[in-house]
Assembly symmetry: D2
Homo-oligomer: 347 residues x 4
């Protein structure tokens, strides 16, 4: 039987390289074509020596015979490429934000461009399999979530669904530097990022509207108010998302027993989610290094009756390329975990 | 004129070593005696090669003729040593928590011991010069604040004083590994801490009662409810403290103008504080590496009307040894900044 | 068909944990028993959360029915356990140095103990598959090489075999901190190792006799003189080994053409070695993160006519657990690469 | 008395910023003018927040009334600026390589440009105070050494002077990332440099001709052959230089006593060098973080009779800005250590 042929547009960023790694090792899909403007004509293994085993030419244009495409273009440029692919009957998993938001008015507000194809936003499925599995299965166009959004939505979804919390939420997130991409900036210069922590985009980060959109969809009628502050920390991979909200009275038992109920509620919510792990101890980003897990630790500050939820992912895997492959598996009716079973690398 | 003679008890930890560095370079004080049980009989420069210029023997006991002593003993053991020093007329700056809390009932709750000398808690002055300058000047016993507490209290004090916020506060703090001390633990093994972020002490960290005590003292009648979650991040030095609280209506102007008023309120509060810097951009821990500054960035999330305050310190300097020297300067009627003027090391 | 049952003695170190990770994912072998004195009775996934998927109890003693055992005991204690296993017909891959050296007199000199079972040293095979593939296939006892030795021997073997160099060799190696193990020491405390490089064991490191033994075995009659200086660098994984030796006259062409001949000689030597990659550019340790490759860059300093060889491995994989699994594959007549094909994790 | 007025050309790189830090804190010199093309018109404290205390405008051109200038221009452009300053009677310390090499033929070979003012090379003094103190004192133009060269020359000078070694020398150096400058490159992107070691410029690094020039000058008639391989390691500051050479027979005693003689020879050579410390244990880069020391550990591999010398510096201080200030002190007849006495920051 012929294997499905997959292509990657713009392989030269960190998500692109991670897609190449995962697809190369995927047992049911053949990576058949990769493009990268600046690197066209070069061997993939010369650009990324860790992929040295792959005898693969980077081209300027995709092969015509691909069945499914991962577009890792920057925000605002993916929209120029994706519609044509869809018209050709190619299914697309888009890594950019160009198809994540349902409300077309959010694009000029958060991304500084007017969306030229608003009708596509209705058809696109937000690619968080833990929330939209069946829609993804039949989708032509999947919008892969932002890395921060993945960690935050998975952390908060069960509490929001259960109506446990007041609508004012604090999300304090810590990301490794690869989240900022492979483009050269002063902030990602080693000497600036090493031994340093700082908060950025305090006035509003672009992943915020996704978080609100998806969490409000879980519990229609709810109007959330999320303060989201991302921080850059000196590590290559990983996001740790710390979420805080006030518990509503009467939803859980009193005292320590409430913690048990909370754990159970989270386990129930994610019963069918193979990549979510509810932990009994606070998780560490290092535990998910290189794999597709999201570890979530829900607990309660008994002194203040605040809900605290800590979640961890590898921003390039569950927060990017791994989630995209998980979406592809669903689209191809493969087991969700195919090619994603590898354990994390520790230490 | 004879210079004041200073002693250090337990020089072998990171705060002890930092005290030695600062006091050795201090123009008005003579470091005359250092003790360290495990290292007694060794040269200071052999234990700490960066202090190699200092020809100094570590002894088992303090010299009798010291005028002022820094006790860097662990919690619960400083209390065994300090009273005798006070009786001998020696002034003491205690680095441990043994004299920080005014309410004796907090010791068994947070530190697992009953305080044997509650009467000393009344006399001890909480050594945060920005709040207690005049009391420190005349104190015999100064309790040097915890590192997290320093960053959090300085971040929140003006807002609490001004009655700007509701009493429910989130403090999400990120600390470098030296905050955990020089003792060997698995969590501070390089391979465990590198490329990793995690939250710990979620059920209640020992620096929390100091924060509440001091902030409530600023605005008597107020009863705060602080959720404090410390995180360990892979860097050697530095604390970044992110504070979140709901603004009270009507205290500040509407919209962007509120941010200006807030900046002004913070600048006014710290007008006479030479080590506090109110910044116009979010600060980075790296900017205070090796010096005694606390950088504070107060702002407002206009979408949610939450106050956000980010503060940064070097946990071993303003969060430890530097603040202790600042306290000493006040106690000796020296200019507050003596010996602490050096700029941070960057990058 | 029943899968081969493998056991791990002392799973709680970094090599032990890495063995568990690799064997759990191995398609042809069943990890059936793991021991760990300090952690007996605990679940493997509680001790190592990155192995959280593995439902596995750590026991005090090995199961009786294991077919092959990896002993990750410390030097000098493995020798107490291994002979009994061999008598029971269990094949053993020993991670310690207890069976690496052929000359029994080297044990008191380098390891401070007299070897109690010298007759086993003859039977044991030095487990570097690139040199001893056929002997490993039939061995009962394989002595897995040291991490530094692996990088150095693979770097130098072709040049030594080809008689290209004078016998005086400099090996300046740089290792990540995991090479020092999971035991707590001041040198591996995060704050001591971070932002720091130092040379250690300058008077003679224990991996030196292995290097000389194996390289002299390749070219009998040769008597090498290796100066080996290991350095600790602030990263978790990886060894980069820089080797220097004077070229013999007349062995290679003059000028730049000599470099080509050298590359070809290295490619030829490792033609059948699936885990050795001869590179055209200097390799980086990051390119082998988490996988079993050894990247080697041989070149010539044309100004001085010195041979320079740079090799890179992941010290816990090709320098430890991965190489042990490679040895196991050979012992079980499986393809050498089974379970070891995964690409490195980058960045 | 009026203080000497110092200027900095091109303050926006790491050496420039470090010069600003050191000169601002210098008790005998007034930093009066700083330029920086890209940042002209900005406040120094806005570009470099760790210098936030300095109320200082970056300008496009130097003030006319400066007495001494530090030129931190790139190689090949400093030569366009420095001659005019000299004609105006301004003394210059040049950070670039434009005046380091005595042999004008070396410029096209190593730096790809023909030197337009070869007559200035004779007058320029190579600014390594430990070798050229009296010449520096009276110089108009001092060429500040390269960072690698400083560590290597100081490590080798006593052995070369004493005729202890054969002329073939290996220098394997490890540098922190700040040595590559503040310019944005893929190699200095955090995600590429973190957790990584690699060797670069293996075919010949530009600091090599300085090393040979200066070491041959110490022992005229000697013709050295140095293989120099620099490595990038994941830390912000620091160079560790490991030097290897064969000892000549009969120069030192036999056995362990030779080590003592060697130590004594090094101590004698650097008797009057306040910033060189001969250590009894291998030094660590961290011990010199932020200060102007060079720690040197000379020893002998008794097995192979190779000399091993390990030296450590902070590449931005003794390897750059600190050494430049040391040169300035000599030029101004100030004590050599003025403004440079601060201890290193550890951990």
């Amino acid at each position: 039987m012929l294997r499905t042929k997959a292509g990657i547009i713009n392989v030269t960023g960190y998500i692109g390289a991670e897609l190449a790694r995962l697809l190369y090792q995927h047992p049911e899909v053949e990576l058949s074509s990769v493009t990268g403007r600046s690197a066209a004509g070069q061997q993939l293994g010369d650009v990324f020596p860790h992929l040295g085993d792959m005898d693969f030419l980077i081209t300027a244009e995709l092969d015509k015979d691909v069945d499914i495409v991962f577009s890792a273009m920057p925000h605002g440029t993916s929209i120029e490429v994706v519609p044509r692919l869809l018209e050709q009957g190619v299914r697309v998993i888009d890594i950019s934000a160009d198809f994540r938001l349902k409300d077309v008015a959010e694009y000029p507000r958060w991304y500084d461009f007017a969306h030229p194809r608003p009708e596509l936003l209705k058809d696109a499925v937000y690619g968080l399999p833990e929330l939209h599995k069946s829609d993804i299965t039949s989708a032509s166009l999947v919008a892969n979530p932002g890395c921060y959004s993945t960690a935050a939505i998975l952390a908060l979804a069960p509490a929001v669904k259960g109506g446990l919390i007041h609508p004012s939420i604090i999300n304090d997130s810590k990301s490794g530097v690869s989240g900022a991409g492979r483009t050269l900036t002063l902030a990602t210069h080693y000497c600036e990022a090493n031994d340093n922590v700082w908060a950025y985009a305090i006035d509003g980060h672009r992943h915020l509207p996704e978080m609100e959109q998806e969490l409000e969809m879980i519990n229609p009628g709810l109007r959330l108010s999320i303060t989201f502050v991302p921080h850059l920390v000196p590590m290559t991979r990983g996001i740790l998302s710390s979420c805080y909200a006030r518990l509503k009275k009467g939803k859980l038992a009193k005292g320590a027993k409430a913690r048990e109920e909370l754990q159970q509620l989270y386990r129930d919510f994610y019963r069918d989610a193979p990549f979510v792990r509810i932990t009994k101890e606070p998780p560490e980003t290092k535990h998910t290094w290189g794999n597709n897990l999201c570890s979530i630790y829900p607990t309660i500050d008994l002194r203040t009756e605040n809900l605290i939820i800590i979640s961890c992912i590898d921003n390039l895997v569950k927060g990017g390329a791994g989630q995209a492959v998980q979406n592809m598996n669903l689209m191809l009716n493969l087991p969700e975990t195919t090619g994603l079973e590898t354990l994390g690398i520790y230490p």
